[in-house]
């Protein structure tokens, strides 16, 4: 056990935790914005997979990270438009529509991959950018300030989301349509428009999350996300719809995963138990949901279509 506490191992675990947390954080922040507006999107995982495959394809074809990131983001936005049309315009049930999006993303990303790429080829990975000065700090420098740009972006989005939701007019509208769309409507706030935009933001973030995942790994394969998007949705509940809480959840999740891996590597967790340790995420999610279930109220109109007669 003592080996766990060597400085270099600790740094590696923290760095790994931050890296693992990145796609969760991006996706969960986006889902927070969507849910605040009253829209549950269970399709996050599918959107991430689509963005991942498009970003992967772009980086293989062009080697240009900006282009890859742009295409990943764009795929998210396009899926957002589709989801918004389904749920906001046609008022379809959100829970199962999201699952439809998930199944579509899962299937179509695989299809696109097979047809356009075929073999998993190594792609360039998003390079690490050391932040001047900060990255020279002992311990934290390597653990926190030596990551790729999308990781930094994810953490910068935390205060940005706080600001968007708490301080801007648009954020106020989002919260209003998520709590009482009828009231917002009666004051001339367009529920459809506000939710539409919130969905686009949420899906764009999911797109970035998929992009971050694939550009960190430098490879794509079918079902790359392994349910990551669903965990991200759970983290929104875990974080009680507050961006900082969501960040705490994502980091906790990443650090736990990194620690478990580290303990497995050291042999502290015996090999016989390693499979069971892999179930931890799903179990942790459910436990967190149970514990937190009654503490905070979800947006009152979450997952309810708004139809003005």
């Amino acid at each position: 056990m003592s080996q766990f506490f060597t400085t270099s191992v600790l740094i590696a675990v923290v760095a790994s935790g931050v890296r693992l947390a990145t796609p969760y954080l991006l996706a969960a922040l986006g889902e927070t914005v969507g849910q605040k507006s009253g829209v549950l999107n269970l399709g996050v995982d599918g959107v991430m997979q689509l963005s991942a495959v498009f970003a992967y394809w772009a980086i293989l074809e062009t080697g240009n990270f900006w282009l890859a990131t742009g295409l990943g983001l764009l795929s998210g936005v396009v899926m957002g438009v589709i989801y918004a049309v389904i749920t906001v315009v046609f008022h379809a049930t959100q829970g199962i529509s999201g699952i439809g999006i998930f199944l579509f993303g899962l299937g179509f990303s695989d299809l696109f991959f097979r047809r356009q790429v075929g073999t998993p080829l190594p792609a360039p990975k998003l390079p690490k950018v050391e932040i001047p000065l900060l990255s020279d700090l002992p311990f934290v420098g390597e653990a926190l300030f030596s990551h790729n740009l999308l990781t930094y972006a994810a953490f910068v989005f935390v205060p940005l989301t706080v600001f968007l939701l708490g301080k801007t007019t648009f954020g106020m509208n989002i919260r209003a349509v998520g709590e009482n769309p009828g009231a917002a409507d009666s004051l001339g706030v367009s529920v459809a428009r506000t939710r539409f935009l919130a969905i686009l933001i949420g899906n764009a973030m999911a797109g970035l999350a998929g992009t971050a995942l694939v550009l960190e790994l430098g490879i794509f394969q079918a079902n790359l996300t392994q349910g990551l998007g669903f965990i991200a949705v759970a983290l929104v509940y875990f974080g009680a719809w507050r961006p900082v809480g969501v960040m705490a959840g994502a980091l906790l999740y990443g650090l736990v995963a990194a620690t478990v891996l580290q303990l497995k590597t050291q042999g502290t967790i015996p090999r016989g138990l390693s499979d069971i340790a892999a179930m931890a995420p799903a179990v942790l999610t459910i436990v967190a949901l149970i514990v937190l279930a009654r503490r905070v109220q979800a947006p009152a109109a979450l997952a309810k279509p708004f139809i003005r007669h």
């Binding site: 270099s8 191992v9 590696a12 675990v13 790994s16 890296r19 693992l20 097979r114 075929g118 073999t119 998993p120 080829l121 190594p122 990975k125 995942l213 960190e216 790994l217 430098g218 490879i219 394969q221 079918a222 079902n223 790359l224 392994q226 990551l228 995963a257 990194a258 891996l261 580290q262 497995k264 590597t265 050291q266 042999g267 090999r271 016989g272 390693s274 499979d275 069971i276 340790a277 892999a278 179930m279």
Partner: protein, 325 residues
């Protein structure tokens, strides 16, 4: 079964190439006149750098005149079953059923087409069907060889393994690798991530292994592509299995254990030519040349390792080395 045996008295319309039931329409006597008609039904893509690709390449390597039909990506059993039956009804002479999970469908279909040879794997037995051949790899052998090579190039003597779930084929390879490396003085850390497909987890596992001092890595199953990327990033040599993974990195992939199914396919087809349609299981191993440890010629130290490689292989073949299987 959705076939309609007994109803073949019904019309067979227009110039269709398929009759309603295939049991009495064998084309076996025609073999001499044209190419051997073969088909393969496989669960993953034919260019997956792994399971399915190895078989397709083996068929291509068969040096026979073959008319091959491919149905790949049939992960859903029901769909695979439909394809197998369709090929049988079409009168294909040899059908490769590439996936253990299709065994149930095969057991149902094979007896209906006694003139057709089915080749099924990976499996160590034929379910007692006499028109079925089975095949499987003795992956511990190549694992052992790669373990020896890994120990030879490791400076720290610390070697990492990224494993999926501790079960099935992957375990044979990893245990062989473990024994090969340990017999030669190295320490092996094996981490089973708990998933066959979580690329991100495999990548982080590689990171963790490296952080703990590993300077040579290997791994098995389809999620290792993530780990290879990390190995390359950290300039750590990598050993592959199931397919030649040097396409993932020309520089850091040292060697790959590759399956050459053509060796056993050759034997099976010869038996068929001689009138035996099935009933036997074949293993590929180092001795029969079905398992080959392919060195990556571009790996800087490749030449230095050749002697160790040859020696170990010889030892396994003559029985002086125990791979632990």
């Amino acid at each position: 079964g959705s076939s309609s045996e007994g109803s073949d008295a019904n019309t067979t319309e227009g110039g269709s190439d398929t009759t309603a039931a295939g049991s009495d329409t064998t084309t076996a006597p025609d073999t001499a006149s044209g190419p051997l008609t073969m088909a393969i039904v496989a669960p993953s893509a034919s260019n997956d750098l792994a399971f399915t690709q190895s078989m397709i390449e083996s068929i291509d390597a068969l040096g026979r005149d073959i008319d091959l039909a491919v149905t790949d990506g049939t992960f859903v059993v029901e769909e695979a079953a439909a394809a197998i039956r369709a090929y049988a009804e079409e009168g294909r002479e040899v059908i490769i059923v590439h996936g253990t999970q299709f065994g149930g469908s095969l057991a149902e279909i094979a007896p209906e087409f006694p003139e057709t040879t089915f080749i099924w794997g990976t499996a160590t037995e034929t379910q007692g069907l006499d028109n079925v051949f089975a095949y499987y790899p003795q992956a511990d052998q190549g694992g052992y060889v790669e373990g020896v090579l890994a120990a030879a190039i490791s400076a720290s003597g610390n070697i990492g393994v990224v494993g999926p779930v501790e079960a099935g084929d992957a375990v044979a390879y990893i245990n062989g690798f473990d024994k090969g490396a340990t017999d030669n003085g190295a320490t092996v850390s094996i981490v089973y991530t708990g998933s066959f497909s979580d690329v991100a987890l495999a990548a982080e596992t590689a990171q963790a292994l490296i952080a703990n001092g590993a300077d040579v890595l290997t791994g098995s199953a389809q999620m290792v592509v993530g780990a290879v990327g990390v190995a390359v990033e950290n300039s750590v040599p990598w050993f592959g299995t199931q397919a030649n993974q040097s396409s993932l990195s020309a520089e850091f992939v040292v060697a790959s254990q590759v399956y050459h199914w053509e060796v056993v396919l050759e034997e099976m087809l010869a038996l068929r030519d001689a009138g035996t349609l099935g009933g036997e299981a074949f293993a590929i191993n180092l001795e029969n040349g079905g398992l080959v440890v392919e060195m990556n010629p571009d790996y800087p130290g490749a030449a230095d390792l050749q002697a160790t490689l040859d020696e170990t292989i010889a030892g396994i073949i003559d029985g002086s080395i125990d791979t632990g299987a």
